[in-house]
Each structure stands twice: as C-alpha cells, then as structure tokens.
C-alpha cells in the first residue's frame, strides 16, 4: 500500500508565492524523512496532507484517501505534531491529551486511559498532572507528540519535532520516533531542515527545495557505499598515509583526517598495527557512514 502519493501537486499563495511546484512523489509505509531548508514547502505539504489547505492543482492521497474530498476520514487516521508552541499553559498534560483524545472521537474513559498510555510512552509519568506552563521545552515536545499519538493513528506527521531541543533531547526524541515507527507499527513522516538528523532514523528520504522535489528514495539506496574509518593522528599524518597505502588500503585525505574504506574488522587491525609500528600518537579512530548530505552537496549551492 502506498502511504502518501502526490501527483503534480502545486500550491501557490495569492497567485504569486509558490510553495509547492509540480511535486510528484510516492512513498511506502515506514519512517519517512522530509527534508528541506526553511521555506522549502514542508509545512505547506503537511497542511495539504491534512486537508487544511486545498492544493492549487494536482492530486494527493494519504493512506489511500483524498484529503481534499474526505478530510475528516484522513484526519481520523493521522496524528499531527505542529512545529510551534501549541499547548495551553494552565492545563495539565493529562487533561489536555485526554480532551484532545475525545475530540478525536474516543469515548471518555478510553480517552483518559489512552492519554496516560501515550504520555507514558513518550516518557512523562507523574509530571503529567502538573500544568504544562511549567514544563521544559523537551517535555512540551513530548506532550505534543503524545497528543498526536493518543487516538492511535496509522500515520504521524511530525513538523520539526527536535526544534529547540538540546543534543541529548534531540537524541531522545529521535530514538522515540524510531521506536514509534518500528515497534508501534505506525508510519511516521518527520519534517526537518537538518538532514543529518533524520537520516539516522528514516528508511525513506524525501528532499524538497523551493517547492520542488530534489530526490526521493529508500535511504539504503542512497548510502549503498561502504562505511569508512576516519583516522586522526597528532603528527606524522603523511607517514601513516604512505604506510597504509603500502598495505594496499585506498587512503583518502580530508584535512587532518585519513579516510579508509572499512572492508571488515581486519581493517581496524591493519590501521592500529601501522600506527603502533610508526609509534604515532593516535588521536581518534572511528567509523563513519556516508552522509546523505554528500548526495545533495553538489545540488544545493545552485539555489543559493
């Protein structure tokens, strides 16, 4: 089943500002990353998927339904986490999520049960009875995620879920999203302007820029190249490069780093052996995936 499909989707505001231009994309269930710079049209696309904005032209379908003609049916099966602050400060998280669960059509007692469950899944326990106004940004983001989850949707639309979070908070949020996508069996569309962030958890990546599709593909297809090891020594970088080349390892220089493709675990031993033999101070040795960013690196400057 196709999760989301658009066909020549175009949205212009007032006939002048083009938010989406001839966007044709189709994605399968899973965790989908929607990346693009600010103003690339991500939020507009989400609003069209929710049936809140009518597209200027083109077709769109979500979970096999058309949000322009059956918005209520789509929204009943979709959970939405907005980008901006969206929580009334004087209500407690438990009350708010329960209330919103009822607005999604859950019976009263079910709404209360599922609200505590959803809050527990996002990691809010006793705090949920306190007014939201006193929460940290990380807790507020969790409440926003819980309210999107309370009515058990088949698809979550998350608009910049890591906004305003510190590095630890970002990691926790991303881990949570990954868990929702894999363990809970709910498809997730994660919007972000940070490619490095979403590429860690997505299985499909859709990149848009200026309302146009840059690329949409399974992430496995994008990062099919093997992993590389990054080696940094405090001195004697050239000597080490020569030594590794002599060991038939295809070494590449990147600033102070030496990049060596990782064939198997033996590669580690070869590098460590070479460093020990030359008696060089090893600064670091770590594994690096090919960044998806490299795939866009050549295209992005053309739009600046």
């Amino acid at each position: 089943m196709t999760l989301i499909a658009t066909e020549s989707l175009t949205k212009t505001y007032g006939g002048r500002v083009t938010a989406l231009a001839d966007l044709t994309v189709s994605v399968e269930p899973g965790i989908i990353g929607l990346v693009g710079a600010n103003g690339a049209g991500k939020s507009t696309l989400i609003k069209i998927l929710l049936g809140l904005l009518p597209p200027t032209s083109g077709r769109v379908s979500v979970l096999g339904l058309d949000p322009t003609t059956a918005p209520a049916a789509v929204r009943a099966r979709v959970g939405y986490m907005p980008e901006h602050d969206a929580l009334p400060p004087d209500l407690s998280a438990a009350e708010l999520v329960t209330h919103l669960g009822r607005i999604s059509g859950l019976p009263r007692t079910v709404a209360r049960e599922r609200a505590s469950e959803a809050l527990r899944h996002v990691g809010l326990y006793e705090e949920r009875y306190r007014p939201v106004g006193g929460y940290s940004t990380g807790m507020k983001q969790r409440v926003k995620l819980a309210q999107a989850l309370v009515h058990d949707p088949d698809l979550l639309l998350l608009d910049e879920p890591t906004n305003g979070l510190d590095p630890a908070g970002r990691d926790a949020m991303l881990a949570l999203i990954q868990r929702i996508g894999t363990e809970f069996g709910i498809s997730v569309l994660v919007c972000s302007h940070l490619l490095g962030e979403v590429e860690r958890i997505c299985d499909t990546l859709v990149a848009i820029d200026g309302g146009r599709l840059l690329r949409a593909d399974r992430i496995a297809a994008m990062t099919s190249a093997t992993d590389v090891l990054a080696v940094e020594v405090s001195e004697g970088t050239d000597d080490l490069a020569a030594r590794l080349a002599a060991l038939d390892l295809p070494v590449a220089r990147e600033g102070r780093l030496l990049l060596v493709p990782l064939a198997d675990d033996a590669t580690y031993d070869l590098i460590l052996g070479a460093v020990a033999e030359l008696d060089l101070p090893l600064h670091r040795l770590d594994q690096r995936r090919h960044r998806v960013a490299e795939l866009f690196a050549t295209r992005e400057p053309s739009h600046v």
Partner: protein, 294 residues
Amino acid sequence: MSEPTGVIHDIGYQRYTGPRLGRRHVFGALYLHGLRTVFGLGRTAKAKIFPWLVVGIVTLVAAGITAVRSQIGEVVMTYAQFADSMSWLVIFFVAVAAPELVSRDLRSGVLPLYFSRPLPRDDYPLAKLLALVSAIWLLLGGPQLVMFLGAAFTTDKGMSGVWDELLDLLPGLLYAGLWAAVFASIGLLVASLTGKRAFAAGGIVAVFLMTTPIVGTLSILPSRTINELAFLASPSTLVGGVGTWALGDLLVPEGRGGGVPIGDFGPVYGVAAVLLVAACVALLLLRYRKVAAR
C-alpha cells in the same frame, strides 16, 4: 503455559480497535468542555473566582427579591425585569468568559491541534458559542427559577397560583435566552479577533458601553421616529426593545412606567436582533475559516 501472575510487564504499545465516536459526540465533548471553562471548572482556583462571584450576586439578588415579595406580597421585579436589571453584570461576565473560551486558544496556538482532528471547521466556534449562550442563560435563568420556587411555595391561590407563576416564568426564561444569544454572539466574535485576553475583554466592554451614548444622543434628537429607533444602536437597549415589544406587560407591568419607548417599531427591533445574531455568527464562522487554514 500461562504467565505467572504478580509480575509487572511492559505491555508495550497497544493498538486501539474500539469505537470512534461521531461528530455529535465530539461536538458534545467540546461544548461541555467550553461550559466547564466558563465557570472555571477543572481549572485553577483563580479562574473560578469571577464567574462564581457573579453567580453569587445574581442568586443573592433573586433570593432578596423573593424574600421581599413573600413578606410584603408585592412583586418587586418581574422575571423579565430581573434579566434586564442584571444586564450590566452579564456584560462583565461575557467580557471575562468569552476571552477565556476563544482568546486563550488563539494565543497558545492550540488550534492546529483541534483542526488536525476530524472536527469540522465550523464545529469549533459553534460549540464555543453554544457553551457561552448556555452559560449566560443559566446565569439569568437559574435565579429566575429561585424566584419562581419562592413564589410558588408562598402563593395563596393554590395550584392556579403556581400555574400563573409558571406562565410568567417561561417568557422570562425565553427573554433570558435572547439576552444570552445577543451577548454571547457579539462577545465571542470580538474575543475571537485577538489572542490577548485583556484586549478582548476591553473590546467587549467597549462594544456594549460605548454604544450607549449613541442611543442617548439619538433619543434626544427632535424627531420622534429617530427617538423611537434610537435603541437599535446599542445591543442592550436593542434587547430591551425586543422585550418591550414581545413581552409587553410581562416586562413592564401596567401603570409602572419604564420599559423602552419604541412606539410601533417593535417588529423592526425583533428583525434587528435576529439579523445582529445571524451576522455575528456568520462573521465568527468566517473568522475561523481563516484561522483554521493557518
């Protein structure tokens, strides 16, 4: 083999396969939530002070009227007059309740969470409006019920006295409904324009109070027609005019004077009140069409 009992398991995420209620229930949930909000139920103690102060005052006034009537046997105030004389209090009640209902939602940005759910766009403002209308009606109707009960238990004409009293009460409750509809629709429309509660409250009071001098000016102009139509200019006097026309001596007992001198323009007042409420509701829905797409 069954699992041993007494062990706490992390049961993980549970999919929901139970019923999902339809539009009517969702509307009801939103309406009830609004009604509770107006009276500060389920909120902080601070939010309860003002609404219950107003409720206390109107109930006290009604109890006082009932007590005086039972002692000296004279009708101090008819049911409809009671609604009229409480209008100032109702204005302040609306000025606090309407921003509480809609402005705070605008400000906190919670609306996208409503409109991304299967809630039809117009249901949100309509549920809020209905909640405010009900709240004002309860505010004016409750004390009327107190007055009725007082009169019914002290009547010396038996069941026919109770029946007469009931026939007086029902138009009074209808009149309270008119007050509620007019004040709620104007108040909610004004409050929906801003997310700042203080501005919204000020705006509502201004709409009701600033229009009164216009009525005053028009009613002393040297033209009888203008004088008699002057009361259209302010919502409170407009409602008074409709009451004078529709209720007649129920609002103003014979020989007591008062009321609103509207001459033969009664139907005009009736039509104007209906148009005013309809226009406010239409503008409110229009306003939320714009808000929902944001």
